[in-house]
């Protein structure tokens, strides 16, 4: 090997100073507020990493074409059913409100999207979707899978967006039991392996007992998630906190690793909407059968 170094002490000192400058720049970038980091991230993704992201979208498209058609059709139909049920319910609701002389209540619209995972360290529990600001996606748009809530959008580019799923440590959702008896905050609970990740309903009142099998849905409070989106099903009690609060473990309604297609709820500020009817359980509630799923069955050829 050749001599790659300037052996003089002065040269080394200069070298260390330049390297120190690079390190300071890196530390500066690390400490930048998130709002300043976001455009930098977008710029790098939109230039240097653009070919790889485009290739992933292309490969995902090809994979979809070669995958089991019936499974994909079921997934697509379920999502279509959610949208279709939403449309018919909205129409019915509009007519009834008209009969009662009430003003129309705003409901979110939906956009279908393909989900892309980065697969690099540091991007765990995050995903990209192939629609962005041009299609109406905004920071805070809920991302839904056929079973319920998958996550939320946290960063939006022109034609792509990045979000976190419910396994991300920052995920929180205001939640209640489907009968409305108990409320709390749902947050992720990490398992030893990612496949064992669960959700917990925290801060539930101590005096209420929530039976295993009870469905937990979003409350619609906070302006992020519309009301009535399934989050999970109670598995059992997690911990009782010194006589004031209880936490319950939930089996998530959606396993993120299996999701390839989603719908994104496009809602304007201050417009919540109630999506409960889309996932109303039928008599076999514990089997996870939903109105949307049933509607999807009816649509299949």
């Amino acid at each position: 090997m050749g001599n790659y170094f300037d052996g003089t002490r002065r040269g080394r000192r200069r070298d260390a100073a330049v390297a120190g400058g690079f390190l300071l720049l890196a530390v500066f970038l690390l400490l930048l507020p998130a709002s300043y980091q976001s455009p930098l991230r977008s710029a790098i993704r939109g230039t240097a990493l653009r070919p790889f992201l485009a290739m992933q979208a292309e490969l995902a498209e090809r994979r979809v074409r070669s995958e089991d058609v019936s499974q994909l059709r079921a997934e697509r139909d379920s999502l279509a059913a959610v949208v279709a049920a939403q449309a018919s319910l909205a129409e019915e609701n509009r007519r009834l409100r008209g009969l009662l002389g009430l003003r129309g209540r705003a409901q979110p619209e939906f956009r279908p999207a393909e989900l892309i995972r980065a697969g690099v360290p540091g991007a765990e529990s995050t995903f990209f979707i192939d629609i962005g600001a041009k299609e109406g996606v905004v920071v805070g748009s809920p991302v839904l899978a056929p079973g319920g809530l998958l996550g939320v959008i946290t960063e939006v580019d022109e034609h792509t967006a990045q979000g976190i799923d419910w396994t991300h440590p920052h995920f929180r959702a205001s939640a209640m039991t489907s009968d409305g008896d108990a409320t709390g905050i749902v947050e992720p609970r990490r398992g030893r392996f990612r496949e064992e990740d669960l959700l917990t309903l925290t801060s539930a009142p101590f005096h209420t007992d929530i039976r295993p099998g009870t469905r937990v849905v979003t409350t619609g409070r906070g302006g992020i998630y519309p009301r009535g989106i399934p989050l999970g099903t109670v598995v059992g009690i997690d911990e009782a906190d010194t006589g004031w609060r209880k936490s319950y473990l939930l089996r998530p309604a959606v396993r993120p690793e299996g999701v390839t297609h989603v719908i994104v709820a496009i809602q304007r500020e201050g417009q919540g909407g109630d999506l409960s009817p889309l996932w109303q359980p039928d008599e076999a509630a514990d089997t996870g059968t939903t109105a949307a799923g049933t509607a999807a069955e009816g649509q299949r050829p």
């Binding site: 090997m1 050749g2 790659y4 170094f5 300037d6 080394r12 200069r14 070298d15 260390a16 330049v18 390297a19 690079f22 390190l23 720049l25 890196a26 530390v27 500066f28 970038l29 690390l30 400490l31 930048l32 998130a34 980091q37 930098l40 991230r41 790098i44 993704r45 240097a48 990493l49 790889f52 992201l53 290739m55 992933q56 490969l59 995902a60 892309i116 995972r117 980065a118 697969g119 690099v120 360290p121 540091g122 991007a123 765990e124 995050t126 946290t154 960063e155 990045q162 976190i164 920052h170 990490r190 030893r192």
Partner: protein
């Protein structure tokens, strides 16, 4: 500094970087594929000045960071430090045998994961010991083997000893 005759080596480094994003991002293999970015930085660092190595580490770290929502800059800091240390390691260790490279890449990748952990705290606190002593070393072995294999392929093609 590097000489003009070294361009095949830089093709190898470029290939590792492209391969990393191809496997992890384009194909989406995740942890199934080895980390090729850290070996690329560590190998490049052995042939450049500390300042150049740190610049390479910063640039490649930012590429990786652009996919992270939580700790933008963590990989840039880590790879800048690693690259500089890797460059200065030539003062202490001379030689490029396969065994040396394996140990060098293993320690480099492990140190990378430890620094990243300290900066971004990826796993939960409860599992940190298991992660640092079991999963991180396994990932380091995987990355080191991939780096040594790539280097062996490069040497067989370029005829470098």
């Amino acid at each position: 500094m590097t000489s003009g005759r070294n361009w095949p080596f830089w093709v190898l480094v470029g290939g590792l970087v492209v391969g990393h994003f191809l496997l992890h991002l384009a194909i989406g293999l995740g942890a199934t594929a080895p980390d090729l970015l850290t070996p690329a930085v560590l190998l490049a660092a052995r042939r450049t000045r500390g300042s150049v190595a740190a610049g390479i580490g910063l640039g490649l770290g930012l590429l990786q960071d652009s996919l992270s929502l939580d700790a933008f800059g963590a990989d840039a800091v880590t790879l800048t430090i690693l690259a500089y240390l890797g460059s200065r390691s030539r003062d202490l260790f001379v030689g490029d045998s396969a065994v040396f490279l394996l140990v060098y890449l293993f320690l480099g990748k492990w140190l990378h994961d430890v620094i990243i952990y300290l900066l971004s705290g990826m796993p939960g606190q409860d599992e940190s010991l298991i992660w640092l002593l079991v999963f991180a070393p396994l990932a380091a072995v995987y990355a080191a083997l991939a780096g040594v294999t790539a280097m062996a392929a490069y040497r067989s093609v370029s005829g470098e000893r």
